[in-house]
Amino acid sequence: MNVTKLMKGNEALAEAAIRAGCDAYFGYPITPQSEVLEYLAREMPRHNRIVLQAESEVASINMVYGAAGAGFRAMTSSSSPGFSLMQEGISYLAGAELPCLLVNVNRAGPGLGTIQPGQGDYFQATKGGGHGDYRLIVLAPASVQEMADHVFLGFDLADQYRNPVVILSDGAIGQMMEKVTFKPYQKPTADKSWATTGKPASRKRNAISSLFIQPERMEQHNLKLTEKFNRIRESEIRFEEVNTNDADYLLVAYGLSARIAQKAMDLARAKGLRVGLLRPITLFPFPEKRLRELATQVQGMLTVELNSGQMVEDVRLAVEGRVPVAHYGRMGGMIFTPEEIERQLETFFEKAYAN
């Protein structure tokens, strides 16, 4: 039976974790995501699940490692500075191929920055983030509903590919209240015969490890991971398109920025500019192929991001120089208005016309 509630993004995410069968949550307080830990500290014990406030983000990510290695659905959440602290552990999780769900409610940086929303962690999330060659599956919710939906999807993808999944949200999506509907969910069965649950006489011992001291074996492991990331690229790209059928120009934006960009698109259309929007839902894998296709149709693309220009690099790589790609960003917790973006559109496309 569907259940509809009015909730904060962070709370919807936490409630979804319970409904997705999350066995254990480990976290550390940091604004603007502390509601996740608070909600789960209150609710998880009622479901006989494990919730623990760790002594640091370093500890909480390693607790996730222990829980995931033992075959349980485990997650943590944090915000930018705390997520940076977790990067070593995330690299180990990826190296040991442990499924888990990680949440970064992005605030503005660098350094301590501000607690206001930002999208400056795009590079960190989509290019690996820690040391070594690895990728995370990155989901970018643009609504409270997706904050919940991506939890179910994220856990399932993590189990399917034995890889950490990141929900890259931001302070606005995390803090805003919206309607959210929870649908019935059946946890898919996942093979966790590799988990450390105690070695019976009937099987060999299980070891969770990312250590390959012999270079030949290390390379083989890296090739195996690369093959997995390529499979993810082939099968898991998700995006949303609005008004792209007749579009002459394309806005590309994710998360909070996509909501504002969509309003800007409406303003532009009211003025007769045929503008479309592509919203990547997965940031890794990135909708490169679709962008390349659209590059044969539109005359230019504009990425709108709450950073100084990060996703724009991936859009440029995708279109391979077919059309001009520009970036418009606000930073440091400042958020653009639809009018502001629409003015950018006009300025940018004037230039495009002149070319």
Binding site: D23, A24, F26, I50, L52, A54, E55, S56, V58, A59, S60, N62, M63, V64, Y65, G66, A67, G69, A70, F72, A74, E88, G89, Y92, A96, T196, T197, G198, K199, P200, A201, K204, R205, N206, A207, I208, S209, S210, L211
Partner: protein
Amino acid sequence: MQTDEPVTHACVPDDYDVAYHRPAALMDVNMHYCPGCAHSLVHKLLMEVVDELGIQDQTIGVAPVGCSVFAYEYMNIDMQEAAHGRACAVATAIKRLMPDKFVFTYQGDGDLAAIGIAETLHAINRGENILIVFMNNAVYGMTSGQMAPTTLPGMKTTTSPFGRDTKFYGAPMKIAELVAQLPGSSYVTRQVVNSPHGVRKTKQALLKAFDWQKQNAGTCLIEIIGNCPSNWRMTPLEASRFIDEEMVKSFPVGDIKTPDQPSLAPTPENL
């Protein structure tokens, strides 16, 4: 190599009784440890205890970065390798999710006392029902002999080439005494393994610790004064003497804290 079969001794004639053999829970492989190193001995003791308690199928070990990072190659139990210093956080999660299992960490002094001190103290303060086997050999072994928090005053290492100056780097950290202060710790002891007596005492400590874990007594920490002949630049015999003559001055041997409830663990013979 996987050996779940009973231990066979090809070299032993049929009409001989085997008085001493490799524990079944210890893999039949060559270890990478240096000649004379205490790690292999303590591995064996741990797995003997697992054998004797019949808990191979209920035991999960966590070995972080350090010389013992390959422990999962030697111990025939389920194991997780942890990042440097994070074993107690990893073990916390495993034990919380599977409270009926036996969970231990196996950590060196650089790992536990330096980079992992926060995870260690907080796990113990929470009274996690885990066993921490703390191998203290006063140096970073794997990275070839740098100064550790437990390096003795005046002791020369590759990063304290003129000897550890306590005015500059402080005194050796007495981890066992430190963690005994925390209410969450139950059994805290320091043992040596450079004599038959010490080996038997260490084994008894391990047996007790597993028993107290079964009783949910809180965190047990067994600090074992190890050695590092290679990085101490000593023969194994010289290293053994160094433990008796120098190490035990900074790290006195014996029980520091015992729980109120008695251990039901058996006492090894000849103790």
